[in-house]
Amino acid sequence: MQAAVTMSDLTKRFGEFTSVDHVSLEIMEGEIFGLIGPNGAGKTTLIRMLTTLYPPTSGKATVAGFDILREPDSVRASIGVLPQAMTLDNELTAWENMNIYAKYYHVPPQIREERIRELLKMVGLLERADYRVARFSGGMKRRLELVRSLIHRPRVLFLDEPTTGLDPQARNAVWDYLRKLRDEEKTTLVITTHFLDEAETLCDRVAIIDYGKVIAIGTSAELKRAATGGDVIEASFSSLGEDILDALEKLPIIRKVTKSQAGLTLLVENGAEALPRIVESVNASGGKIKSMTMREPTLDDVFLHFTGRSIREDTRIGRRRFIGMRGSFTR
């Protein structure tokens, strides 16, 4: 298999601030590759460099075999970009939105119509081709925007948070189209997300990015094995003192203890063995367990392991949503 995207020591600095810090990655052809990390981790900057919007401060990258600095025109002709914010024209019909993009990408007039018809059909919007986009639901708009980015059959498709703001049903629909696209067209997909389930169910491989650095890379199964090597136990307590925490941390079978909203999250090698030991230890130090659950680790646990904090704790996510809402009012 050939690499669709390569990066070596790719770095972007804004003044003193290093947004992307010596990133080296290879993304294979036909792969669905996820970039996960909290907002501000450098994912979007990385995508902007790969899509020729920002020149890198140092390092090199190729997309679809073209150097991003020396052959930006060839890169642009071979990529599709689904930006985070909605950039459809509400005043125009679905067909017009597609047609104008087909022209931007120099899709020959003879095949333009057929291609638009085919793509609209794929996302179930062909019957609404002549409706103004203003009348579409959020999910319909996202689907339309997705196929608009496919109008020139790009070899690499960059998707910046493709399902943010969609309800679960619409998210599933988008995921289905993306898988179909990869299976049928062999398109390489590079997806940024802070939804861990999205990375887990959709992506073949995932890179975790924090403070501009790639801190882990692999399939989600590999990452989970590397990070936890076992099970996750969530415990909640009727009473929880500092001494209980100390006692648990001293247990050799427990690899990591973190406080969560409900109580404690414990990473252990073998859940079945660890459960009775934890109960004993808590009881011995005078605590009282309310409930305990054992589960398979998720990418959130992986993120916790590698960064020492939960991806959901990041308050910037909330603030960004608010700005998004303001944006929709001014529109």
Binding site: T51, T52, L53, D73, R76, A77, I79, V81, P83, Q84, A85, M86, T87, D89, E91, L92, E96, I100, Y101, K103, Y104, Y105, H106, R132, G327, T330, R331
Partner: protein, 368 residues
């Protein structure tokens, strides 16, 4: 460069899908034209006039001195009537006072004497003021205490020739409204839509397609220009329907009118584009364009002749593109002027438009 056409097509399609917005752009200039147009009038000062004095004598000298001393006029002495007429046709003077060679001799012989007044009546406010002030001066100077002149007192007649057809005040205002419609369309089409597109990431979306920077800039300016011309044409039609404007429909007249609108439109759209891409907030932009519109419009001579302005406002007018555009349109529409008559206006507009195109390109590139 074909990409510029597609960028332009998108903007024009959006425009066509919003017929309501087209109407909104015309409401302001139209109301201004109708309300002010039918309500205004006033005294004028510093009107440029040419004096052709071909008679030698005490009476004609006194008339000349009195006119030079009067603050209503800024007078220039010209040797012959033909060159004075040329000045009138080119808009350099508003009136010609012609004192024919037999004037003083006629008075000396006790006969009736005539002076002739040629008025640029396409500007009704200043032409009526000019007529009034000149009649007063001629009758006053012909009533001195010198006995020799007394007999011919009643014989001095001011002979007025209206040089053009009568132009109502509302017609006088119409060119200003057409230019204002250009400005408002530039402000909305060139300005607000660019800010919105930038906020929404549409412009950034362009940059990941094979579109070239130059294609994006040309496409955006072209779309803005088409919208502005559409708006100005709409205003012209409204002016014909509701303000009784009879534009110059000869071939040269149509060509010169279109050239003025095209040139001014491109200049204004570039100016507003340059301004808009440097203004990140749509609210800031909307608040600042209102005073800009007022300054450009009222300091253009659109509603009142520039000659009536105080000197600081005349300074604004001298660098105001709308002033040159309004002057040119008046010359063309009401005086059937040729290219020579508007050459000065065109020269300014060409320089202005080139400068603004350059500024828009630089500003746009920095914003991309």
């Amino acid at each position: 460069m074909i990409g510029a056409l597609w960028v332009c097509e998108r903007d024009i399609r959006k425009f066509v899908h919003q017929p309501f917005m087209m109407g909104v752009a015309l409401i302001g200039p139209f109301l201004m034209l109708i309300l002010l147009g039918y309500a205004f009038g006033g005294a004028v000062e510093n009107v440029p006039i040419a004096i052709v004095k071909q008679s030698q004598g005490a009476t004609s000298d006194r008339i000349l001195d009195a006119i030079i001393a009067d603050k209503s006029f800024r007078s220039t002495q010209v040797q012959d009537l033909n060159s004075a007429r040329r000045m009138l046709e080119q808009g350099r003077v508003r009136a010609i006072l012609y004192i024919p060679s037999g004037f003083d001799t006629a008075i000396d012989h006790g006969n009736q004497a005539f002076v002739e007044l040629y008025l640029d009546n396409t500007d009704p406010v200043s032409s009526s003021a000019t007529r009034g002030a000149l009649s007063r001066i001629v009758s006053e100077t012909a009533r001195p205490e010198e006995v020799a002149i007394r007999p011919v007192l009643g014989g001095v007649v001011l002979d007025v020739a209206e040089y053009y057809r009568k132009v109502e005040y509302v017609e006088f205002m119409a060119p200003g409204s057409i230019i204002q419609a250009l400005f408002i369309a530039s402000m909305m089409g060139g300005g607000i839509s660019i800010i919105m597109d930038r906020q929404r990431g549409v412009i950034e979306g362009y940059l990941v397609t094979p579109l070239k920077q130059a294609e994006i800039i040309v496409g955006v300016l072209l779309a803005g220009l088409i919208k502005a011309i559409f708006s100005a044409s709409g205003m012209l039609i409204l002016a014909v329907l509701f303000a009784g404007v009879r534009p110059n429909t000869t071939l040269p007249g149509v060509i010169l009118t279109s050239t003025t609108i095209l040139l001014t439109g491109l200049g204004l759209i570039s100016m507003m584009t340059a301004f808009a891409v440097r203004t990140p907030l749509v609210e800031v932009y909307q608040l600042s364009v209102v005073p800009i519109n007022m300054i450009l419009y009222f300091a253009s001579g659109a509603v009142y002749p520039i000659e009536g302005f105080p000197s600081w406002m005349r300074m604004i007018a001298s660098v105001n593109p709308e002033a040159y555009a309004v002057h040119a349109l008046r010359q063309i529409m009401y005086k059937s002027a040729d290219l020579a008559a508007v050459a000065g206006d065109f020269a300014f507009l060409v320089v202005f438009t080139c400068l603004m195109c350059f500024l828009a390109t630089v500003a746009f590139k920095r914003a991309l």
